[in-house]
Point group: C2
Chain length 538, copies 2
């Protein structure tokens, strides 16, 4: 799939880099396949390039002092026009670049960030903090109504600045993307181990600003727990917290910045808690005869607080499509890992609980590496699922804009309400899918699990009408979001609010908290230039 | 020590209830002992009673509608004049009740709380939310400068309202004190397991408002982690968060209320995450030949992330005075517990790491209860320490105001800075102790430990001058606080900020965060009546 003539630059439309874009021939083949499947004509229009799309002229003149790191060329502006939501991807592949930023600033040091914020706050230009650009919630898109937009791309500030091997922590610049961040930690025997699906194309600052959910399926699930301190530049100045392993001194300053989605300022660096690279691992896939039996089993395992690194659950459909099972059984993936102590004992305890709850796994499929390097977790159903998790967003590049409508949404709910919640979601979303798409599917997995409830992640897809995908998507997304909020869930467990989730977030968060947040924003961003429209209106 | 004629009412001056007050004879005996020890006369003045102290008349007239639950009698006002800091206790035992609240409101339901807030906000009366009254940081004291003060005692709202055994959570009213809260959970086989030293005399709402540190020495150390959702009444209305096991929807509303110390509103109830009552336990005391070897051993154990429920470390002096060791060795107390799975395997792993780091423990002193009820943790050095931890504050009732100066302060610091930090604290505090007190002692233990650093808790005591204890205390406290902040620590790990820690908190928290918090306060408490002076000034 990789074309050697293409570069490692971010694609203006596809998930990943230009080298991840499919060929026109691949697109045509996919169009033909979908046309045959749907019985309707499907056209593979030419893929967008900076040469083929027409961007409006920049509406902003960059001050001379900032010119060395500010860009208004078509490539910079087109490649920062969108995040990677379904709507973004359809618009982009169709060549709709109606609202690009006017300028892409790529500061190389904090003084340059400060200069951009001062300029924009004074001149009233909207500032969009931008890390890897993988937002799926309309979090990095220039608002259509804005008169002038400067996208502040932190990508040049990507260094691990200090490593404290004693405390297992490091000071890291916010623009570091996952692989580059991990590559810098590796020589120290340390790892952040924050592996969202977007890992290759998302940044530390983005993870913190959006409360990203990561590698660990239990216990410390969000990036929140790994922030030791952080530094955020705002139009009103710097907000930097003290580096501490724990504190009880008033409401946590970090927790105001964590999840602020660029609306209060731009995170420039953070001290992050790290892990020793794992050398002990254990992994197993446990199957259950029904979805109900499976989630009751997961409840038993998570409430024992053995804190497995991995504890994912795939419903029978998802276990079939993503992990190669036969469609009749659900799959629990359970794994432990440690850099310091063997995990076989914990694994045996978890398996005993899962079996007691009706789970099936052969002894020889419980893979335990007690430090010798035995393979774990990359074979069988577990390995198949892992592979499809990583390649999924790339695979969609071939199909985007050819009439398929597919996306995911995620939430969290307490166990007592879970069975009714799941039924309500499947009913409401199932109905809108039936009304909207041909051959629709809806499946569920748990991405993270808590002693008091799961974080379910629903995936839907079906054959829509080419050209109407966005409208069809919105009908489904609206029904799903309404059902999630009505049934007591959160509008997002780890994808952030952005602009896409605003109507439902506004119902979810306490009104007085929104007042407090708006008041805080007026202090930190008095002219209201920071990412307007995410989380709150001024 | 218990006098049957005395009641279970809160003492107006002593730690605990009236039944915990010493007799005049016990006080005289203690005065004689301290006089002999110091070579100075020590007088056991008569203990204060509501009959012996002169309170200023109430300056507030209670509206008739609120009269049924508002009290202005001497007992109510005297017993809510102070928290239980060293300064509070000395003032109280000396009969100094210069600044009592004018009214003690004891609402029985939320509508009555709302009525008090409306009344006070409109009339400009200061409101002091009050749970168990155990604050050691001047968090519940009527400010001397206030013209009128209503203390809002939540004690009548103390019920567990709903228990969700499936999710292991309960909705609990904020006024519930520790023992009453646990007694209501016990029939359900559940427990909050939040056991600060103040457990008997502190409330759920107080724990949340002050970010109390609890039972668990690792992983989930603060009450913060156990809050599933909460409800806070403010002069501007109700702020209630959605009950969720996890969320990534914007900055956490709960984290604004958690640690707000009554300055934004009064927490009336919360959904709390609970534990199944433990049936598997393991406990051991491991000794080390030096403080340095001991804390290096703790670092090794905590970084293995086995997440022991207990992982405390006593320096050689504290191991001697509180756990009966010989003064040459430090003591690590390590314990595991679970309601669901045996913990012997984890214990053996922790012990192996501690021994590898130079720790000594006999095999037969590693106590493991795999569900059969074998005794763990209440014998030997571990049991001795546990007993002195619980009785300590009561024992001090006999000595308070007789010339002794003794207190504790606590903080947290990352491991890389810890040895220099400890040296700096011991140097600075040792010097001021030598200058201020006779026969001073200074010792340290870790109350909570994180993979990236310990939470050290320093205890000092010595013989001061009767009548000058408060001034002497302030000299020591000031030197300790300055040293903590200068060396990079937090002014409090789990005792809160209150008014006592304000000068150093003001140096610690980011200035822009204080601006944001003040702005939030203006929204929630527009007339600035809520507990003024804690955390921030208006």
């Amino acid at each position: 799939m990789t074309d050697a003539t293409k570069t490692a630059r971010r694609s203006i439309w596809a998930w990943g880099n230009e080298s991840d874009e499919p060929t026109e021939a691949e697109r045509r083949a996919e169009a033909d396949r979908l046309s045959a499947l749907s019985g309707r004509p499907v056209e593979a229009k030419p893929l967008p390039t900076t040469g083929s799309i027409a961007l409006r002229p920049p509406r902003v003149r960059v001050p001379a002092a900032l010119a060395p790191f500010c860009h208004s060329d078509d490539y910079h502006r087109a490649s920062r026009t969108y995040g990677r939501s379904f709507v973004d991807r359809v618009r982009a592949v169709n060549g709709d670049y109606a609202h690009p930023p006017d300028v892409v600033a790529r500061p190389r040091e904090e003084d340059e960030v400060r200069a951009v914020l001062e300029w924009c706050s004074d001149a009233g230009h909207v500032v969009i903090p931008f890390g890897g650009g993988s937002s799926v919630v309309d979090g990095v898109n220039p608002p259509a109504a804005a008169d002038s937009v400067v996208t502040l791309d932190l990508g040049e500030m990507n260094e691990v600045l200090t490593v404290d091997t004693t405390s297992r922590a490091a000071r890291i610049q916010a623009g570091a993307l996952g692989p580059h961040l991990e590559a810098q930690l590796k020589p120290h025997g340390l790892t952040l181990r924050h592996f969202p699906q977007s890992f290759e194309h998302s940044s530390l600052g983005g993870w913190i600003a959006t409360r990203s959910g990561g590698h660990y399926a239990t216990n410390h699930t969000h990036i929140d727990e790994f922030v030791e301190s952080l530094r955020m530049l705002t139009p009103a100045g710097v907000m930097e917290s003290r580096r501490l392993p724990g504190s009880g001194a008033g409401p946590s300053p970090d927790r105001l910045a964590i999840g602020s989605e660029g609306a209060l300022g731009v995170i420039t660096e953070a001290w992050m808690r790290l892990q020793k690279r794992p050398q002990y691992r254990a992994s197993a896939g446990v199957t259950f005869g029904s979805w109900e039996a499976a989630y009751r089993g997961v409840l038993q395992v998570v409430q024992a607080k053995l804190w497995p690194a991995n504890l994912r659950l795939l419903d029978p459909l998802e276990a079939q499509t993503a992990a190669g099972l036969d469609g009749s059984r659900a799959l629990m993936v359970v794994g432990f890992e440690s850099g310091d102590a063997p995990v076989g004992g914990l694994m045996r305890q978890a398996i005993a609980i899962a079996r007691e709850a009706g789970g099936a796994v052969d002894d020889e499929e419980i893979l335990i590496d007690d430090g010798g390097g035995a393979p774990t977790g990359r074979e069988g159903a577990v390995g198949t699922w892992r592979k499809s998790f990583i390649t999924g967003p790339y695979d969609a590049n071939r199909r985007m804009g050819l009439g398929l409508v597919a996306d995911t949404f995620e939430t969290a709910i307490t166990w007592d309400r879970w069975p009714a919640f799941d039924a309500a979601i499947r009913e409401a979303v199932g109905r809108v899918l039936d009304e909207t798409l041909d051959a629709p599917t809806l499946s569920c997995r748990f991405t993270h699990v808590y002693p008091d409830g799961p974080a379910p992640y629903y995936t839907f897809s079906g054959i829509g009408r080419q050209g109407a995908e966005i409208e069809q998507f919105h009908a489904i997304k609206r029904a799903a979001s309404e059902a999630v909020i009505a049934a007591g869930g959160t509008i997002t467990h780890h994808h952030a609010v952005g602009r896409q989730h605003r109507p439902w977030y506004d119902q979810q968060r306490p009104e007085l908290f929104a007042s407090a947040l708006r008041a805080a924003k007026r202090e930190l961003d008095p002219n209201g230039v920071m990412n307007p429209g995410v989380l709150i209106d001024p």
